[in-house]
Symmetry: D2
Subunit: 382 residues, 4 copies
Amino acid sequence: MNDYVISLRRKFHQNAELSFKEFQTSKMIARELSEMGLRPMPIAGTGICCDINGKTQGRTVALRADIDALPLEEMSGDQFSSKNKGVMHACGHDAHIAMLLGVARKLSADPSFPGRVRLMFQPAEESPPGGAIEMIREGVMENVDFVLGQHVISTLPAGTIGINFDYGAAISDEFFITITGPGGHGSRPHETSDVVYITSLFIVSAQALISRMTDQTQPAVLTFGTIKAGDRFNIIASKSEISGTVRTYSKEIRDKIRDGLRDMLASLCNLHGAQFSFNYEEGYPALLNDRRVAEVVNQVAAQLAGKDHVVYPPPTMGGEDFSRFLEVAPGAFFRLGVGNVEKGITASQHSPRYRIDESALLLGVNVMTETALRLLLNGIPD
Amino acid sequence: MNDYVISLRRKFHQNAELSFKEFQTSKMIARELSEMGLRPMPIAGTGICCDINGKTQGRTVALRADIDALPLEEMSGDQFSSKNKGVMHACGHDAHIAMLLGVARKLSADPSFPGRVRLMFQPAEESPPGGAIEMIREGVMENVDFVLGQHVISTLPAGTIGINFDYGAAISDEFFITITGPGGHGSRPHETSDVVYITSLFIVSAQALISRMTDQTQPAVLTFGTIKAGDRFNIIASKSEISGTVRTYSKEIRDKIRDGLRDMLASLCNLHGAQFSFNYEEGYPALLNDRRVAEVVNQVAAQLAGKDHVVYPPPTMGGEDFSRFLEVAPGAFFRLGVGNVEKGITASQHSPRYRIDESALLLGVNVMTETALRLLLNGIPD
Amino acid sequence: MNDYVISLRRKFHQNAELSFKEFQTSKMIARELSEMGLRPMPIAGTGICCDINGKTQGRTVALRADIDALPLEEMSGDQFSSKNKGVMHACGHDAHIAMLLGVARKLSADPSFPGRVRLMFQPAEESPPGGAIEMIREGVMENVDFVLGQHVISTLPAGTIGINFDYGAAISDEFFITITGPGGHGSRPHETSDVVYITSLFIVSAQALISRMTDQTQPAVLTFGTIKAGDRFNIIASKSEISGTVRTYSKEIRDKIRDGLRDMLASLCNLHGAQFSFNYEEGYPALLNDRRVAEVVNQVAAQLAGKDHVVYPPPTMGGEDFSRFLEVAPGAFFRLGVGNVEKGITASQHSPRYRIDESALLLGVNVMTETALRLLLNGIPD
Amino acid sequence: MNDYVISLRRKFHQNAELSFKEFQTSKMIARELSEMGLRPMPIAGTGICCDINGKTQGRTVALRADIDALPLEEMSGDQFSSKNKGVMHACGHDAHIAMLLGVARKLSADPSFPGRVRLMFQPAEESPPGGAIEMIREGVMENVDFVLGQHVISTLPAGTIGINFDYGAAISDEFFITITGPGGHGSRPHETSDVVYITSLFIVSAQALISRMTDQTQPAVLTFGTIKAGDRFNIIASKSEISGTVRTYSKEIRDKIRDGLRDMLASLCNLHGAQFSFNYEEGYPALLNDRRVAEVVNQVAAQLAGKDHVVYPPPTMGGEDFSRFLEVAPGAFFRLGVGNVEKGITASQHSPRYRIDESALLLGVNVMTETALRLLLNGIPD
């Protein structure tokens, strides 16, 4: 099994493909599943859905792997580096595919469980609005009782499982603002709307959206990433462009920050005689694990990895569209450590030097398989 | 005389040349002066200095015309538009040259005045540190008692003379700032120095340099012209670049603003764990007319243009390196109206559509000639 | 038991006494305990410590009630209103005393438990640094294995128990700032240090301590409660006084905010030529329940109140010096609902109209008694 | 004459009276004028108007002295200190009265001038809206051709005359703001409108009214003198009171600043859910001398004081209701130096230690008399 998963992972690694362009990846997945005697079905373009039926009627557990790669030129030095120039599995989705195929092989070899396991190979996790939303639209979550997903992560050591009992990833939105006004000569500001000044006061004022207007027991981050304003030192600019991101776990807070940004902008521009445009794009929803399903993962992980190798990292403010599946059915998303300081495997996710300690993958296969089986057999307590 | 000046002005207009590259312009000036029997001398590279000696010993009055053009593609529609692509006399220096040659022709034809008139054709007024400083270094102001200059301006109507009794143009400086700091992911600002926020707070804080820290009876302007910070909406930037200009009449206030900017920057960067560079470049000094010489211009202008056609515009916050000559000898710089709403001559200085009402030029010749003669004859009251 | 507790509560309510002046309260407690055959001992001035020994050796569980009242003129309308003018039990400590005496009566009547229960009647919870610190200094926590406390709260309905599994109350600090500088006439700000402006910019700048400089997954609040600056509209003030509070769960964050405030102040005052004083007073530490002890309370409460009447409110940013006992031994602090909308019992804690639904008190007695017994019998899982 | 004026000044000094309560002062003035054979008439309550007719028909020149004192306890140490406790001539109006009576004695003794001199003793200069407005309403400026006033000032040495050719004192307005909003506990700002924060951001934002929105060649000052907000460090305040002053020379700029303050307030309060009141009280208009009348003063002063003792101080941002007379007729307001460092006479205007060098008063009498006579004889040039 270990060799099978590692060998698959390397194949997928070599064949890294961008979001919604996972054509070869999809074919390779389908071929593997067919060889197991399963019936893979295309979904959401390049996605694959495939059921493994147990021996009796019962619950359905859906297991998800995301399959797309990133627009990066690989610099890992691995022999099995990406053959596709400028595309790289630098977020470990290659491992996710391989592990889910490993799970499929185990379960299809011995389908002595009640109910059904649904394998979901999802395209385009890296590109909002992402592939999950389309899979759900096409019905992948119908009659699903529980849903599980995992993500490799190099900041946890190989052999470790990370679990969150509630939030695991944040709402992650982006916004783009343009402020325009009558510019003019730098020596006569009173005849202009100074968009550089308006921009600055706006960014300073917007801090209160976090510090004064958000319940501090609820995490929320507002970051302005870029400003581009003006062309010459002595000319008052007529245009300023600003972009940024909002992160939080609560839709109410997100809405409050979004509306607050727009209202502050409107107010400042109105006061200073400027105009603005405000484009706010919602990213993925917050990822909220079901506490009871997470507890099942917790027990399985403690047993398979050892109690000391289960950790409970603080929630991150990053984004992940597995959250969409969790909006439809209770489930859990957990982390699989693949870092290894002794082996020099330390590069962070999304780095062109990203590598993983492949010895960890078997644990991922086993935790997911065992958790799925327990959910099929016992469900969760009321 | 009128035809002579207008015809010359058009020749110089067609032959617009950039700062310190006024090679043909310089040759043409020298040729004209030689034809009058004068002895033009090169100075400061492409400048020309030329004395007209009166019949007796006496005072020396220096008259200045600046001779360079701007890097603009002409769109005036005039038949005699610039032949040099991308270079245009859009600030009227062509008229300044022509008028000073007109003065030269009048005075050289009848040198029955005491003392000496020194003609100064100055290169590079448009490019700080400018040509005046080099001419002075080469001795052009030695033994000069008074100095006069004039500037055409399209916001005053043709037939009008504008006079300031004290300040006529401002100190005009520029500054360039870079703020750098450890950036990071947009969701974790507490691990970074957010240079976008620092930039914004700096610009907001700097307003107090004008509103609180400068004597409000002393004009001063601080303008931030550009900001360029960050590359992506969700990444906290590691570099922000800012540029701007400071305008005032007082070196003390300029120094206070410059030092205040640097101290505020240092303070904010220190608080937030960022670094900065601060490059402050002094431009031209403030242009300060001598009240008594300005009064002579005032009387001459009232006589030649009519009392109703002499105006006293508020001082501008623009820059002009005639100020350097005024640091060496008492003198005055006055404005010659060349706008004409009825003729549609309204485009502002430095516009690619800039035009002038040439009928105004004779007045400029005469006011300068007559003022020079009165100064030679009478000097100024104690 | 119900009548006993309610009757006691009313006696203590009538006899409200301020922090460290709970002389009569202390005597009344001692008398009740003596009547049960126990041996109350004075501690920390007006505090009382009293052990109830079980039948066998074993663990020690400490139970705490705080006993002081607030400087408020009662407006509750209750017949048993405070007889002490300007002093009122508006935070329910009267109920805490009565319930702990109820617990004492139950346990002393049937000491068939292993180990020992230590009753801690604590003075001065309302006045930092509070009475807990002195009780601990005098040894009250020696050999204590677990510690329990509860607080009545009118925002939860009677019959309800509120539990936090980790943080239950925040670090709660206060600060007092004075900014002084050379003032002057309102028309000449450039000759002064404008402390009103400095104050304003300081408060605006300080928002970034929360919004940019604190990990947003860690709650933190910075509030400026008061400003008092200046005497006349047309005089630039020479003194500004500011006060405020900092709330968080983490000492590291608290230190960062405190130091940030001081550094920002120093920086702004230095820039603007002003002086300052900064007095920062640490209040109570954050209250951190032991997850396992809280789980015992959770199980007891579910059994006694019914599963639907156990709630898990978000942590508050308020302060409570029970946190000091939790620094010495594992334990839990829980909330007892005493509100009742139908009976019109809705006034908030610390209101002069504060009332409680006394029918809730028996539940408080029982949850505490039963939790103590379970801890004595079973301890907590590893 | 010298003794007469000094002796009078001391009498008035002893009898200092507050604005519109100058009852004894008024009687004393009337008695002096009557003794000269003139016919003083009451005006504007405690004011006095009195004409001195020349030998022939002609122009009318009005001369003004303000007569009220300040609510200050005198600490000058002078033997002739104020007998009225808490009231002091600390702005030198006593000298103004005495000098104008000196002028009256000179002119009434020798009325060999054409036209008429009108003496205007004005009440209540220190208390906007001031006494000038009422005197004008009652007709004091009818048929007046020119108007003159002077003010003693301790920052100029005795023997000196200070002249402004245009603005001599500013528009001087005051404003009072209240911001109210739902306050609350310091740990829950998101449930409140934090008026302390709103106040701070308002004051910081308002700086741009000067630094960005006012033509910097036009003096303008905006000062916030006081803030009073909140009662306790840990409670978010529900009320903030702010006061301040606006100084400028231009009604357009004043209106822009006033409207800008109100619009910013409205905007910020609207954004943050707070309410506000904004009371803006216009003070005196700007004092604008007639250039030609000022030139007459200049010539007289040069002759009487010596050219070196005539100075041209920058305009002040202070207020003076002589400006109202200048709105009706051309005229000039000049300063009379009364300081003397060698004699230790240095205390500033409005100080309880204010003193004047009385040897300067004769010059004030003479400059005013002579200027009045020249205006009667020659008027001013077109």
